[in-house]
Symmetry: C3
Subunit: 361 residues, 3 copies
């Protein structure tokens, strides 16, 4: 069935699997990074993230998942915490802190599921991975149409608090994530994703997210902006070849008024894409050596409203290539090299060497 559905697992599907017995399941993932920028700056060694996951199956219909993340050794976040109620074979009702389905990485962010030491930057600047909010929704499969569907009402980004704006041009919506922590809600946002898995080896996704940002002063209309995000992604496997790509475009409305109120430089359009090719060389046993190449392009000032002039430093592209040495299902050593550029005239490409350990169980 996995092959028919061109399935990809994440921690949630793994720990709440249908065939598991009643009781506790435990998982975890982690990535340890070494980043060495070209030039005089010292290198950086970091336990970037270490995550523990706990699932519990109450009975055949009701289960719960939580993800507890330790970042940089000493910061803790509950990143997922939701209850899943299986209404029937094709419909699950979900409620709690969940991942917003947009693009590939936000839902599949376990470090052995992608290539490169760090996550793609499109999934940092345009999709603010790990993007999770409190909400309710439904999900399920329509197998005779080879479709998986997800639809949610989520709490939105916070754009304004304590008399000041939160969102900005350099990373768009990223600072507005409320993460389920004493979050403010005025109006829920709608999120949905359709995955089509009807062609052998291929999985294509179409994501949408629509709504408004949240504010702690709903009397000030200009303190919120409208959000409309669309994403298209594809993953393809053919023998030892793996191809991936995604395109994300976000339109923000009323940014002119928002920027005037807050003095911020939030763009009105944000776009990003990447394309990746990888080839698996089989070594002994389950070990695999996988060279890969990825090109990314993203711009948080793809358009700006009113008198705001687009900042070319936010128009970035990036080439990354490297090796993934998988030593077990769920364990890999990684090295790669990044060339990062922006559209500012005469700016040099920044270069960085990365190496890391990635685990997921």
């Amino acid at each position: 069935q996995d092959e028919i559905q061109n399935n990809y697992e994440n921690a949630g599907t793994k720990l709440l699997g249908e065939n598991l017995p009643k009781g506790v399941t435990i998982g975890g993932y982690g990535q340890i990074d070494y980043n060495e920028p070209d030039g005089a700056l010292p290198g950086n060694l970091d336990i970037h993230r270490l995550v523990l996951l706990f699932g519990y199956k109450f009975n055949d219909k009701v289960s719960f998942l939580t993800e507890v993340e330790y970042e940089h050794v000493k910061e803790v976040y509950v990143e997922q915490a939701y209850i899943k109620y299986k209404a029937n074979e094709n419909v699950n009702v979900l409620a709690g802190l969940m991942l917003v389905p947009m693009g590939i990485i936000n839902e599949f962010h376990e470090p052995t599921t992608y290539y490169g030491v760090e996550r793609p930057n499109v999934d940092k600047y345009i999709v603010p991975t790990t993007w999770r909010e409190l909400g309710v929704g439904i999900s399920g499969n329509i197998n005779n149409a080879s479709l998986k569907y997800q639809a949610y009402l989520f709490n939105g980004f916070k754009s304004y608090a304590d008399g000041a704006g939160i969102l900005r041009g350099s990373d768009g919506l990223r600072k507005g994530r409320q993460k389920g922590a004493e979050s403010v809600i005025n109006s829920p946002n709608f999120s949905a994703k359709l995955d089509y898995y009807g062609i052998m080896g291929l999985r294509v996704g179409l994501s949408g997210y629509f709504g408004k940002t949240q504010t702690d002063d709903s009397g000030i209309e200009a303190s919120t902006v409208g959000v409309s995000m669309l994403g298209l992604d594809a993953r393809y496997k053919y023998n030892n070849l793996e191809l991936r790509g995604q395109y994300i475009t976000t339109n923000l409305s009323d940014t002119d008024e928002y920027n005037t109120l807050t003095g911020k430089d939030l763009g009105s359009k944000l776009t990003g894409l990447y394309a990746e090719v990888a080839y698996n060389f089989d070594l002994k046993g389950v070990e695999k050596l996988t060279p890969f190449l990825r090109y990314e392009k993203h711009n948080t000032h793809a358009d700006t409203a009113g008198s705001l002039i687009a900042n070319k430093a936010y128009d970035r592209d990036e080439l990354i290539f490297g090796l993934n040495y998988k030593v077990a299902e769920g364990a890999a050593f990684k090295v790669d090299y990044q060339l990062m550029n922006n559209a500012v005239y005469g700016s040099d490409a920044a270069k960085q060497f990365n190496a890391g350990v990635a685990i997921w169980f």
Copy 2:
């Protein structure tokens, strides 16, 4: 035996159960809250608490329990951590960070064990739930008298540190909880509870707590106050009907001198009570729909010493009614409506709608 003893479980009794094998046991509980105050204020969505519990049975006599709590997504507390030594069938010796047995909720605070999205407010303002301190004690059952007993020496509340007072009128002893974190001790306090379970369906508890607060400057006598707390609680089940109630009264001595020294407004008497009625409608399988109604009244200025005039804003009552939809043993969806009032002349009742998810495993 459960029915004979009119037993109620909490995480500790569940994870350290007599019949469990040697080794690790894992549990957890959590509550996700949506609070919508009446009026212009925005709603609040929060992972209020997410808790993981780990028990370990070393051998037939010695076991250990710990509870690690994540509040509001990113604050962490070790809330319980104690060793239990079974001296004989009727006597357990306990040492470590433990729950003070006072009223119902402090010991039974797992969110699927009570009705309403939030815990009763008597168990916030009068019993400072979750009230846990480091201590040593004994517990056990005297089955032929249908009694459970508990008796402890606990570290007390901290009332004074770095030249300033800590306790105050609005929430009495709550700010003084030391929680086992590099806590200061001058003199231990005594805590005990007796539970009588000799009548079918009924469990009645009588709790007492006596001692003095702690100070980091024991040379200043006025920096401490005496504490004497009494609690009476009852839980009754008859077919699908559930009744609960508790009454707590606290006398604090030397508050006049304490308030003079520190400029605080700590009351000399704190009282609180609640009564609750709930009725379980059986749905399919284990599912139950339970409407409930609870009335609470509590006053942290039930009396004041010296020239301190009682603040009527601290004389509060509350009516709360709602629905509990239990979808599995240990999982429920909740909605309720709260009407909160105080004794200030002409003050309006504050109203709030709450909805939430509660899990415990």
Copy 3:
């Protein structure tokens, strides 16, 4: 085999043991302390540390261990996180956040493995326990020579950041531990240990650590110092008698320039030793009562460079004696009394009573 190798377990060897099946293993340890200094100061009660450990065996060759520590109830640290790759019977390759093998306690810091409520102070001031850094290394046994070997490249101490020095006379290298948290690296340090277990009941260790400290401004040569540390340790069991001792000596180079640049008082030589004797009285079952006596001497100003005059307050010794009441494998109650002295003329010995609970599973 354990007896032949005079083996001592720690959490890592326990959770990644060769004979364990594929999957998750869980462990934990904790210590709850009561410290009562002689004199007017109030006592201290603290959940000093509570630790959870998770191991995962991916397959016969690859495993992962992590240790998550909660200190003083509300601080969290990932203290270990490494992948272990078994290249062959005698060689393991390790990478990640690991314990530096120096002396006894840093590698064997679970509170039921040592006597006394607190860890020896030599293992605080001279060996900065818990000393862990990111690195890569190898380990294994050469059984026909009765040797265990370990060799690593670790990230070093950070001596300089944001224009200021970090290391100081009172505790030497301790403040410089980077702990794998967004740590700065200029040059790796070398660490190795050899353990000889060829004589019944005896285990002798020789540790070395050599390198330079790290700086965020490698253009300032005086911002780093050279580090050269040697340790000798021995553990001996004969019937119910247990003997332990260790000697550590550290030479720091270029401290004169470092102190001139930063205004610090870092010593150029740090030394420490302790010797301990304990005797186990067998009680019923696995219970044991163990009186012990330990003498410690350590000096973080054993020598100083340039014009820096040695501070005699850093030349400390200590006598500690007490009782360990083991109630189960992995659970003990402890009491002891400490007499602490320093070389300042006319200074009084500080005295402290300690009691505690220690668990490890």
